[in-house]
Structure formats: C-alpha cells, structure tokens
Assembly symmetry: D2
Homo-oligomer: 337 residues x 4
C-alpha cells in the first residue's frame, strides 16, 4: 500500500491555520509529497496550489478521495468536516490525521475510533501542544527515574477566543470544550496518565467568554486541577508537576522549563531549559513534530498518539463536564446561549 | 487604655520563627515597645532578652499577663498555646495577634472570635502572605477599575514540610491543613472574596507528604482551584487571576508580578513589577506589614484583617475539606497516619 | 525590469543554513518564485530541487546567471563565493542579497558597494538579528518620543563557534570578526546610529576561542560597549539601552523585552513583551522578515537596510579592531593561529 | 584588647541609610553590642537611641572616641566624615568599617591604608554588593573547578541618582565615580581579580546624569566591560562571566542566577538559583553579611575584604577614568559642572 518513495498526501482545508502551520510543516518534511489540496474557498485553494505546483486541486474532498493516489489525508476544517473526511478516508483505506476537534459528538468519534481499529489504519488528532519542544522536554524530566512518580499537577490555560458558540453548535459550552478544554485535558493526560474522574465548575464572563475549573483524579492516584478560560487577552499556559521524590517541574508557556529537586544538596539551585535563541520553524509549537510522527507511523505500520481512540477518553471527560455544568441552574445560560 | 506614647507589647514565643521574623519586625516598628518577652526554652528567652534589654522576661505567659503593663500580645507558638494565650488576653482586655494557626479546632476559634466581638478588642492572625509587598501590589492591580471583576483564579502552593502530623494532632491531614491550606485559602479569599463552596481531593506522597487539590466557587460567582502539597523541595507559590475585562494578573513567588490586557492596543505587551534590587528588611514577606497594620488598628481603635472572625471562614473550609477527604476510603491513611 | 507577477529568484547555496532558514522563508513569501537553485554539493541541490520542483538546478552559479530569467539572487555560501556572486549579479543588473559576511576584505566590499551605487540595484546583507521580531519591537520602544535619546548601550553576544580560522582565512581573529563581531556591531548601530570610534581588547580562550570587548562612541555622543565571545556553550545575547528620559529597555535573547520608566508614577512597574506562545515560522529570528524587506525593495525600486554600503561601516570598524588587537604583542597568536 | 563577650560598637551616622540597613543588621548580629550612637541631627540620634536604649549618645564623633569603651566603629556619613572618623579611630587603636566612599581623594585613602597597615587594625569598606547572597553564590559558581578560568565579563549598573555633584565636591564626575563606579569596579575585581588597565568613555545626560563605559584588562589576561549610568529610572544591575571551559554565569539583579555549560550533554539545559520565597532580613543585599565578616575579623584578629588597601586599587582606577574623561574636551563639562 505504501509507495517505496514519498508518502502521497492530500490536504483537506487550506484556510488560515492550515496555511500558517500545517502546509509549511508538510513542505518541510522529507519523504512527504503533497499531491492534492482541497478547499471550497477559491483564494485559499489558489494560494495552496501556488505553494505546491505539482498538487492537484479540489473543491470537494470526495473528489479528492475518489480520484485516489493518496496514502494519507490531513484535514483542517470544522469538526463536522473532520468527521466526514475521516469517515470517508477510513472507508477507503486511507490513513487520516485531523486537526482537533475531530467530531462534534462522542458517538461520532467512537464510531471513527471503532472503524480505525477494524481497518488498522493510522489515525491522529492535532493536539500539537503535547508535541511542542518544551512539552517533550518536560516529559523527559518527568519520566526520568530521579523524578519519582507524579503525584499532582496544576495547570492554567488562558485563551482569548472563541467567544460564544461556533461551528453552528448552538452551545457556547460545547464550543468552549471542543476548542480548548480538549487541548488542556489531552496535555494533562499526556503528562499524568489516564483520568479516573473529573469534577467541573464553570462560570460565564462577558461576551460569551467562559471560565472553567476542572479537578481530576488520575488512575495512578495522583490529583490535579486545571483552569481554562477564554476571557484572557491572548493565549498562554503554564503547568506544574510534583513528583514523589520531592521534585517539581514547571512549564511556562512553550518556551521555559524549570525543575527543582534533582541536583543533590545545592539548596535553591534548580535546572532550567530555554529554547534556542535562533529557533525557527514549526517544531516549537509541535505542528511539524506531530505530522512527522504521523508519517513515521504510516511508514512504519504502527500508531502515533493521540489516536482517535485516545481522543475518545478526552471526549468522555468533556461529556462529564458538560453534564455537571449543565445540571447547575445558573449555568444553563452557558449551555445554550 | 492606650498610652499616649508607644504601644507596649508582650511577645509570647521567642523560638526560631519569632526570632527570625517577628522580633526584628517589632524592633523596627516605630511607636512599638517590646516590654515583655516569654518563652519556656531558656536559650530562646535569653536571646530575646539580649535584643530587648528593657523587656521583662517570663517563662509562663500567665505570669506576663498577670503582671500587666502590656497593651497587646504577639504570640508565636503552637496552636494549642495560641488558643490559650488568645483566650487569656481577650479575657484581660488585651489586644492579640497570633501566628497561624490560631487554634486546633473550629469550635475553639469560634469561641475566640465571639469573645473578641464582645470585647471589641483587636485580633489578628499571621497570614503574612497577603501582606507581602507583591501581594499588595497584586491586589492593587485587581482592584483597579480597568481590571474588571475577577472571574477565575488558579494557584499552586508548594511546601517541603511539615511531613506527617505535628503539634501532637495525630492527624497528618489536619496538620497539613493547619500548616498550609489555611495560608493558601486565606490568600485566595483575600484576592477573590468569600468562598461559597469547596470540593477537595487529596493523596499521600511518601514519608507523610500530602497533595491536595481544592476547587472553589466564590460568592461572586467566580471559580478557582488551588493545588497544595508538602512534597516539594522548597517553598514556592504562584497565582493567576483573570478579570472579566480580558485582563490577567500573575504573581510568581513573592517577587514577580505581571499583568496583561490593560495597555490598550499594544499586542503582547504587558506590565511587570519587580522588587527593589537592594530591598532589605521584613516587608517583603509581609511580616513587618502585618504587625504594622495590627498596631495601627490598636492605636486607631479599629480592626485589621484577617481577624479571628475572618479566619473562622477558613477553618470552616478546612473542615469541609477534612470531611470530604476522610469520607473516601482510600484517603483514610491520610487522616490518621 | 520587474515582471508584473512574482519576483523570480535564484538561490546560490542550498546547504544547511539555507535549507533550514532561507529556503522555507522564500517558500512562505507570497509574490516570490524560486526559479533556480544552485549548489555544487549534489545532495544539497537534490533536496532543494525536491522542495521547488519547478526550479532549474545548477552546480555553478555562473550558469544560473548566464541563462538569465532571474530578477534577484539570494546567496548563502562562503564570503569568497558571496563576493563573486554579488559581483557577477550586479554586473548583470540583478538585485542581490547575501548572507553575512559578504566578502573577506573591506576593499572587496567597497567595490561591491560602489558598483551597487552606480547600478542602482538593490543589495542586502543577512543581518537577521536586526529583523528579529523582538529587535523590531525594541526599536519601536527606543524610537518612541517618551524614550528620549539613547545615551548608552551595553550588549553581550555569546557564541559557541566557530573556533580558530575558517573559510581558509589563516586568521582566527578575522574569522571571528566576520562570523560574529559584524552581527553585534550591526545590531548596535541599528539601535544607536553610526559609530564614531571604537576601542577593542581581545584575548584567546582554549581551542581557538576568542573573547573581545569593544568600546564605542557613537556619532550622537552616546557611549556603549559590547562583549563578544566564541567560548560560550551556546548562542545567546542580551542588550540594554538607556534613554535620556530616565528610561531603560532590555532585550534578553530574541524572546523577552522589558522597559522601565515610561509608565508615569508607578514605582517599580515596567512593561514587558513576550512572543506569542504558539509562534511558529521564520519571522522570530528575522530570516523571513529580511527577505520580505529585500523583495519589497526590489518591487518598490528602493533600498532595504543594511545595504552593502551600510555594511561597509561595519567592515571599517572590524578593520580598526583588527589593527588594535594585532598591535598588541600578546595578541599576535589570535591573528594568525 | 577584645572583651571576652560581645564586641562593643560605636555607630557614627544614624541617617536614612544607617537606620534602614546598618542599624538593624547590627541589632540582629549576635555577639555585637551597640554601646554608642552618634549623629549631629537630633531626630536621627533620638531614633537610634530609642532602638538601642543602652547606648550612649553623641553629637560629635570625637566625643564618642574620646570616652572610649568601643572596640570598633561603624561609620555611615559623607566621605569627608568617613575619612576623619577612620583616621581618628585608627589613631586610637579602634577597628573601623566605613560605608563607601571612604574618602574623597586617593591620597587620603592611601594614608588611611598605610596607617591601618602599621597598626594592624581591621578595616572594611561597605561594598555590600559583593556580599549579597546572589553574589556569593555567583562566586561559588565561578570558583568551581568545572567553570574554568574566567576569560571575560560584561556588566551594566544602572542607577537613578545622584545627579550632578554632591558632598560639596564641585565635580559631577568625581561624585559619580565615588557614588557608583567604585561599587561596580569593586564587584568586577571581586569576581575577576585585579585590574591591569582601564579605558573609559563618558557622556552627560540631562540634569547632571552621566553615562560611562569602562573597558578593563585584568591581570589574568581576561577582558571585560562595564556600563554605569545615573540616568535610569531605578537601581538595577546585571553581570555575566564566561569561563574558559565553555561555561557562562549570569547574575540578574541580586535575585536571579543562571549558569550554562556544566551539566554534561543536556543541550539547552542550565542551572538556576532563586532566592528563598520568604527571604527576609538584611542578608539579601549584603549589609548584614559584610558587618558579620567585619566583626568575625575583629574577633579573629584577621582582615576582611575589601580593606582600605583593597579599596585603594579601585581609587586608582577611578583616577585613571577621571584623567581620561577630563582630557577629552567635550567632557570638560562633566568634570566641573
């Protein structure tokens, strides 16, 4: 099924995010060839075609899939389109990576995950944060023997949009969860392991903004909390993990890491990591790395993470949050504004 | 009742913390005169007496109180002693400031608060963190009209001790709550207002350490969470508050503040505050400031905060936490190790 | 001279730096079309050709230039090649941008600058640091009326390579100057204006490393100093500028800016700038921005900076440094190791 | 000569700086007893007496010295008074520590140093910055075998006052040198060793402010530069040292240290030091530590540093700077405004 040379890729969705982060990452990857680009917005399609002069152009992803000749699909559109593209790809035996969120509902995602399992195809969801350079360095810290087992984690995740509902969802809360809470929950599970249970509390800010606190118990017995809001002036995040060997690791944004408690007896001295001064390109925020892992998986006949199956766990937590928040009268406005 | 000149102070407890932070703060304050020092450890008493050559010395605080001649008592010992000293002081019409925790139980504190109310005396609890220079600057940020109303807060509070139980309490959880959770909860309430409800989750680390996540709903409708642990290599803390005008304020330790969202249209520019390079003395961590406020209150016949009454709200939250954590079977070890 | 549509570009030199930073920047720029790529190393040429399937390939830049059809040349090779490519391009009426250093000697550069002036063609030298996002933000700070006139500047610039000589120069000092001192001096002049005089002092570290201090008097009357070394573990830099309105601006690496003294009466509060958390691509380090400016200049029939003429001032400072350092006996080892 | 118990100290000068930093440091030190305080300003003397109820009070330091009964003098006044007090103390066999600057002229200081040598008495100059906690930690980094030999250093030192002349000196430049350049030069020599030669350049800002760049060659062969100005909004400083084992150590203000290049193969990871969150007292800025060292020296019959002799080297550098700056016509305004 795999050509001896480069993986042939079709891109569905060439809008702003795709053009800014995914297309240049695809261009940069060796052994990957973008052979088809698709968008129903003319200008977006034209610009993508200019960047990939050898690629065929499509306004409808079904045309792209029906013509064949692609080994894998990268989709960056709305969750509704992601769902359709993923379904059609898997049905045709084509590996598929979709930006988050992959679907609107958990049932849809469960069906996709089940289909992926039956076909053995490679699936991926675009949680770039866990593939960011700093996040991978953080994981190395935590995984190091001397760190001990993580026993607690705190995280805040502040965004400035979206406000209100999007994707025609008629629920500001679901829009919020599918836009941000999933990123935050995926990142927590990436560093702390599976979540046993979650308790959520949410409030509304002005103009459709939301602030949510979630408290997590991990299967390992560790505890954690995360504060997610869309009421901030710009996107930023911070997370701290404590290990049971009296060690602490912090990630401040995606650029700074610090760690305390592993350097023996030198009081108040810790370790710090800083990104390269001249760092350029698309590895920093994880976009290129996640695609690289996806194509490595395609070529190596194995899975990369998060798969659709992995993402299902996040969706179940989001459903829990939605139930808890909606059941509180004063939050009803959030769920159907 | 008040002398026309300096407030006459008796200090009960001249141990390490008192000698390092409270006694030099008292010495530095104008209009305050330490006229009596008390400790049942000879060397501690001797050292204090050397620093305050005009002060009378006592090994028993009752002697100090019975002799009279003091306008206010500063107590820094165990919660059991704080309780007794506070009770005896209030009964004798003497203003009293105690280090945290003021008592072991909520009932004891309620009685003290009630007695304080009846007598109209000034009471204070040593939550120095809210009086730290950075915390006061943070409060100014939050209180500024342009910040809007706080809608959420995240905090982590990492300490390295105590481990297991202390003060003869036979409960590692209660020891943990009285040593740290009260500091964290007081600081949250200081910046966010009264707490409506709390949900807690705790786990044990090795050697009697504890990690606890608490999720708070504030009376204002805002939400928040805090992670408190004693499993860290040293003491540090960080808190972030989001205002509903798309503003964010961060306090990193007690030295750095930053704020975003109030400078108009300059994208990615925020404000930062840094402590004086040559800063010296006891204001930084709040010790001198809280005592100064206490004596100002004594002199001005008004209250300073937190009073015993204020602290009562924190104790009720701690009782809630204790109930929730203890009711989970797997946590029983935490409550009675 | 200019085609109505995209600028047709030929790239001379497709090695590591070109492939990592320049080629992706060129690909990302709208209105630019890479029509020819040239390298005498087969694998480098093959990789570049794969990324630009429509481009013609050359192993000798003369072939590329002789065939014609390019509006501008981007060169990234050795200073000797830069010189030859620039000369040949200008002689053929082709705009040219070269990575630093453009030549080995000042005479060669003076000739190029003179030729550029006569032809009116656009020239550019790759001093990416002044085009880095942070550096541009810093310049805005300094240029703001409230900053006043810069009266002094301090900078350190620490690199880890090269060690000893390179490019066949037989002078570790000249190699050092052409590799790093020019970057540092260009950045200082960018923020402070032209240099009146320079005083230098250098020493050798182990394994061909060099440390140099240069003291500058600017034409404006301002003073400054810079410390440049190749003995550091990795590349980093920091600069601070003081304005005569009691203002200070700092740039820490290429990610953090802070400024004090412009916020009125709020003591100890300053401003800070932080790069976007998810920032990706080639603007951060200035590579894409400098090329964008170059092509804007080509299209707009104007100059971008630094031109060859601008760079000439830097070369004259480097010659001054070389003379001063070489005249000290103990430094003779530096100049010809 | 030394009493078996506490060192008896007389303090000359109880003004703002003394009251804020020196008196509390003296109070905090065990084995030190302030037995006399002196100031010709009534309110300052009264306040000091209140803090040290057992101390005798004087309005003239000669009275204090003539009465006797002190083992050591701490002086914090003008350089003219420092000189007189130091002279009189040494003549009477009394150890003496003076705030910087110890004298106005180098000749005066040389005489004091010579007298100190003949008498064998302990002398000290108040360069608190080298005794600051961060500075001592930095020195440990640099002194560590793995750091190698320091080969270069960069420093900036930004202050906001004084402006113009002070102490009746009729020279803004000398006032500037005695107020700040000496602190900066002492700190550089503390970390890098003796200075072989210095080259200076200065300019004037508005309202009597000065900016000066100094370039240093150290006796070790290392090079360095420092930028000192009084045109900043507040006091701050930063220094960086590079070791010849590809190591770098930075001190940012007196709170943050970082170091790169000693952790083996972990690219981009360094070490960092942060002051205690709850740090209080007078060690941070070096005031208590320098006095502690002075009294240890007094008790142990040895010297502490910087002695008057050590300070003499700094004065000679300042004289060099003054000559160089004054010899430039355009700077004449600086030397006698």
């Amino acid at each position: 099924m795999m050509p001896s040379s480069r993986v042939r890729v079709g891109v569905v969705g060439c809008g702003e995010h795709s053009a800014e982060s995914l297309l240049p990452s695809l261009w940069a990857l060796p052994s990957v060839q973008v052979v088809a680009v698709c968008d129903n917005v003319e200008i977006a399609l034209k610009r993508a075609a200019e960047k990939f002069p050898e690629a065929h152009t499509y306004v409808d992803f079904r045309g792209l899939l029906d013509v064949g000749g692609v080994d894998a699909i990268i989709a960056a559109a709305s969750p509704q389109v992601h769902h359709e593209v993923a379904l059609a790809s898997l049905q045709r035996g084509i590996h598929v990576f979709v930006e988050k969120p992959p679907t609107v509902t958990t049932v849809e995602l469960a069906n996709l995950a089940s289909l992926a399992k039956r076909t053995g195809l490679v699936t991926g969801v675009g949680h770039n944060l866990r593939h960011a350079t700093a996040s991978l360095e953080l994981q190395k810290c935590i995984a190091h023997e001397s760190f001990g087992s993580p026993i607690c984690m705190d995280m805040w995740y502040f965004a400035s949009k979206p406000v209100g509902d999007r994707w025609g969802l008629k629920s500001a809360l679901r829009s919020f969860l599918l836009s941000h809470a999933n990123h935050a929950l995926d990142l927590m599970a990436f560093h702390m392991g599976s979540v046993e249970s979650i308790t959520a509390l949410a409030t509304q800010g002005p103009q459709g903004t939301i602030a949510m606190s979630a408290q997590l118990e991990f299967k390992s017995g560790a505890v954690g909390n995360v504060l997610v809001t869309t009421c901030a002036p710009h996107f930023s995040l911070s997370l701290s993990v404590v290990g049971d060997q009296r060690t602490v690791a912090h990630m401040d944004g995606l650029r700074g890491l610090s760690q305390y408690g592993r350097l023996g007896d030198q009081k108040r001295w810790g370790r710090k990591w800083t990104e390269r001064t001249l760092d350029s390109g698309f590895e920093h925020a994880g976009y290129q790395t996640e695609l690289e892992l996806f194509f490595d998986a395609v070529r190596g006949h194995r899975q990369m993470h998060p798969t659709f199956e992995d993402e299902l766990a996040v969706y179940r937590l989001m459903d829990d949050i939605e139930r808890q928040v909606s059941s509180r009268a004063e939050m009803s406005g959030v769920t159907s504004r």
